[in-house]
């Protein structure tokens, strides 16, 4: 292959890549802006808002798992920290609930920074177990500190207010969550295409190789971990605001597993994949209620089928199928 053909391949790969980023954002923006036209009732706003919020947390985890290649079974722990910040900040510190959203995100970031340093030295299964332990620790604190957190019965989150306007209603939260997801996706896509993103991809492929070309592996891993935690905490904060109530389930092990499932099922390497995975896992339980008593079995079966037939995930898998047809 001569140099000219090489350059052509490179530019051909680079050009659509750039536009693909904007195309993804544009598609997401159009979807968020137009689907409300088809909603027959307010319930659909609620479910769609849930999809956007959950997707935000999943996009954060995608940065850690898909881009940096580090598994986390404790992502919901950070979601829980963000969510409980919205309840505890106003209650004990008298802070405005909206102020608690960035504060909770910052707190999650700091905790991720402190926890991440020792944890991220571990690899593979050991890392999975360590993050699992972290998530369980958060849940245990939330459950057992009944006097502070309200224990397993949960705690109320005050309604947010801007200049006397009370933020409430599924429709309002739909637009807030949709906006947050757009911004989150934009940042994640930019990160993927930045030098940092390429460094993450490099250490994902081979830590040894990444280290030999001068990438500070530990620092990049930690950065991805902190970013993922901040995404989770913002999503948790929005969820708490939307529900006006939060229980330790938000931080639970099952929730963590669900986030991992979303990222994997949508396509590990794909940011929009995380959104599709989140949409699937939020919408399916609603759609499957007709299978009363068997809904969990059907849900499990569907996830298995997706993993068998679209092994690389829904978004990359379908993209490959389309390309082959074309």
């Amino acid at each position: 292959m001569d140099a000219k053909a090489d350059a052509a391949v490179l530019s051909a790969a680079a050009r659509p890549r750039l536009s693909a980023r904007w195309a993804t954002l544009l598609v997401l923006a159009v979807v968020i802006a137009t689907i409300p036209w088809f909603f027959p009732s307010g319930f659909y706003f609620r479910v769609a808002a849930l999809v956007w919020v959950t997707a935000l947390a999943a996009v954060g985890l995608q940065i850690l798992m898909g881009q940096a290649g580090q598994v986390s079974l404790g992502h919901a722990g950070f979601v829980g920290i963000g969510a409980y910040a919205m309840a505890l900040g106003p209650k004990y510190l008298g802070l405005d609930v909206l102020l608690c959203l960035p504060l909770g995100a910052a707190l999650a970031g700091v905790i991720a920074f402190l926890v991440g340093r020792p944890i991220l030295k571990l690899k593979g299964h050991y890392l999975a177990v360590a993050t699992l332990g972290f998530g369980m620790l958060v849940t245990m604190v939330l459950v057992s500190e009944v006097g502070i957190t309200g224990g397993p019965d949960g705690i109320r989150v005050p309604r947010a207010e801007i200049l006397g306007w009370r933020i409430r209603g599924s429709e309002t939260f739909y637009w807030i969550a949709g906006g947050a997801l757009l911004i989150g996706t934009w940042i994640a896509l930019n990160l993927q295409d930045s030098p940092s993103g390429r460094a993450l991809a490099a250490l994902h492929d081979s830590e040894v190789a990444a280290r030999t070309i001068g990438i500070d592996v530990a620092a990049y891993k930690l950065r991805a971990f902190v970013i993922a935690a901040v995404y989770g905490a913002v999503a948790g904060g929005l969820l708490a605001l939307m529900n006006g109530f939060v229980t330790p389930d938000a931080a639970g092990f099952i929730a963590s597993v669900e986030y991992v499932t979303m990222v994997v099922i949508g396509g590990l390497a794909s940011v929009p994949g995380a959104v599709v995975g989140a949409a699937l896992l939020v919408l399916l339980p609603q759609a499957l209620t007709v299978f009363h008593d068997y809904e969990h079995a059907v849900l499990g079966l569907l996830i298995m089928l997706f993993m068998i037939f679209l092994r690389v995930g829904i978004v990359p898998g379908l993209a490959a199928l389309l390309r082959r047809r074309a």
Partner: protein, 388 residues
């Protein structure tokens, strides 16, 4: 599954009826939609499962008997798996999409509190099946509940201790949600009940030995009775430790262990003489003939056990009470309008349910008094009703 076929049959029947009868009759036969979000699966399934079964069973029975105000009931059940966020989504679905006229459900205090704003905003009556006192205190205009509260259990125990001429109590509580909630309520009502709590010990839900805590209580000067606020296996281990140490003080357990399984776990010998407050369902056959609840309890018990071939539980009873209070209110209001239905539920007087005799008011959205709890003692490996 069976529900769907029941619906389908119901709808077919309706269709035929509408064809035969004048079109004006169609509105008359429209089903009344009742929603239920229950924790049928997940950690609270031992509560949610009997609730689910009870609601389905009795909605079918009511429909077979001609429905309510000439209209059949349509029950829509969603399983939240014990997750408050999911419960909230299903609650929104019931209100916005299914357009239910009322809700009987909410298995845990957490899911109930998460769903409450949805029904309050929509002005639709919500009868919760969870225990927490914060559900009805302070009163929310459209939220009711049927189960007894922890506070009543404490009051019942303390009243019995006082009746024995004792006042100084040592408490031992689990650190789980149930134990902590009851511990807090007991501390709150101890003073007014004339009880002094002189020892306060705790144990983890998975601890396998509570003798150190019991020894400390025994060595506390002046303890006259022991009260154990707990749920699950903890109280059984406390009871065994109490027998092992040969403690002679009266031991009280909570309503959370009112099942035959507890006696088995604690061993009948160790549990001999232990007292606890329990719902009347536990001792239905022992109630005197003139007890107002007797007939309804035995009826519910035999109906449930015949249908599902499994022992009845008080949790299913809470669902029965919720559904029947709602049905009675719909008959009285002759309407499915949210506010009128709420007013009718609030006006419930002298309703005899499995949980007790219910007298609601604008300030009391549960309507039970201490007579709803029966004090029972374990004798010879069985629960015995003692002079209430």
């Amino acid at each position: 599954m069976s529900l769907i076929s029941v619906f389908r049959r119901g709808l077919l029947g309706l269709g035929t009826a509408a064809l035969i009868a004048a079109p004006a009759m169609a509105q008359q036969g429209q089903p009344i939609r009742i929603g239920a979000v229950l924790s049928v699966t997940g950690p609270a399934s031992f509560l949610g499962d009997p609730e689910d079964k009870t609601l389905r069973l009795y909605v079918n029975r009511i429909n077979a008997a001609g429905g309510v105000n000439g209209r059949p009931l349509q029950l829509i059940v969603y399983d939240d798996g014990g997750d408050a966020n999911r419960a909230r989504t299903f609650a929104t679905r019931l209100v916005e999409d299914d357009r239910v006229v009322a809700m009987v459900g909410g298995t845990t205090t957490g899911t109930t509190m998460a769903m409450r704003p949805v029904f309050e905003d929509a002005r639709i009556p919500f009868i919760s099946l969870a225990g927490g006192i914060e559900i009805i205190e302070p009163v929310a205009p459209f939220t009711f509940k049927t189960p007894h509260t922890d506070r009543m259990a404490c009051e019942k125990i303390f009243a019995d201790i006082r009746a024995r001429g004792l006042t100084r109590v040592g408490m031992i509580s689990g650190t789980d949600g149930f134990g902590q909630s009851m511990r807090g309520q007991c501390q709150r009502v101890a003073g007014p009940a004339g009880i002094t709590i002189v020892a306060d010990e705790q144990y983890g839900p998975r601890d396998s030995d509570m003798t150190p805590q019991l020894t400390r209580i025994r060595n506390t000067a002046g303890v006259e009775a022991i009260v154990n606020a707990g749920f699950g296996q903890g109280p059984a281990i406390v009871t065994r430790g109490y027998a092992q140490l040969g403690i002679r003080l009266p031991l009280y357990q909570s309503h959370g262990v009112a099942s035959a399984q507890f006696i088995e776990l604690a061993t009948p010998a160790a549990a001999e003489g232990v007292r606890l407050p329990a719902a009347a369902l536990l001792v239905a056959e022992q109630l005197p003939e003139n007890d107002p609840q007797r007939r309804i309890l035995i009826d519910y018990k035999t109906t449930f056990e015949r249908e599902f071939n499994q022992p009845v539980s008080t949790f299913g009873g809470h669902a029965y009470d919720g559904l029947m209070i709602l049905v009675e209110a719909m008959r009285r209001a002759n309407s499915t309008d949210g506010t009128r239905l709420r007013d009718a539920i609030r006006a419930t007087r002298g309703f005899v349910g499995t949980g007790g005799v219910v007298n609601m008011s604008a300030t009391d959205h549960m309507g039970l008094d201490l007579s709803a709890f029966k004090m029972v003692e374990i004798r010879g490996g069985a629960f015995r009703l003692i002079g209430n």
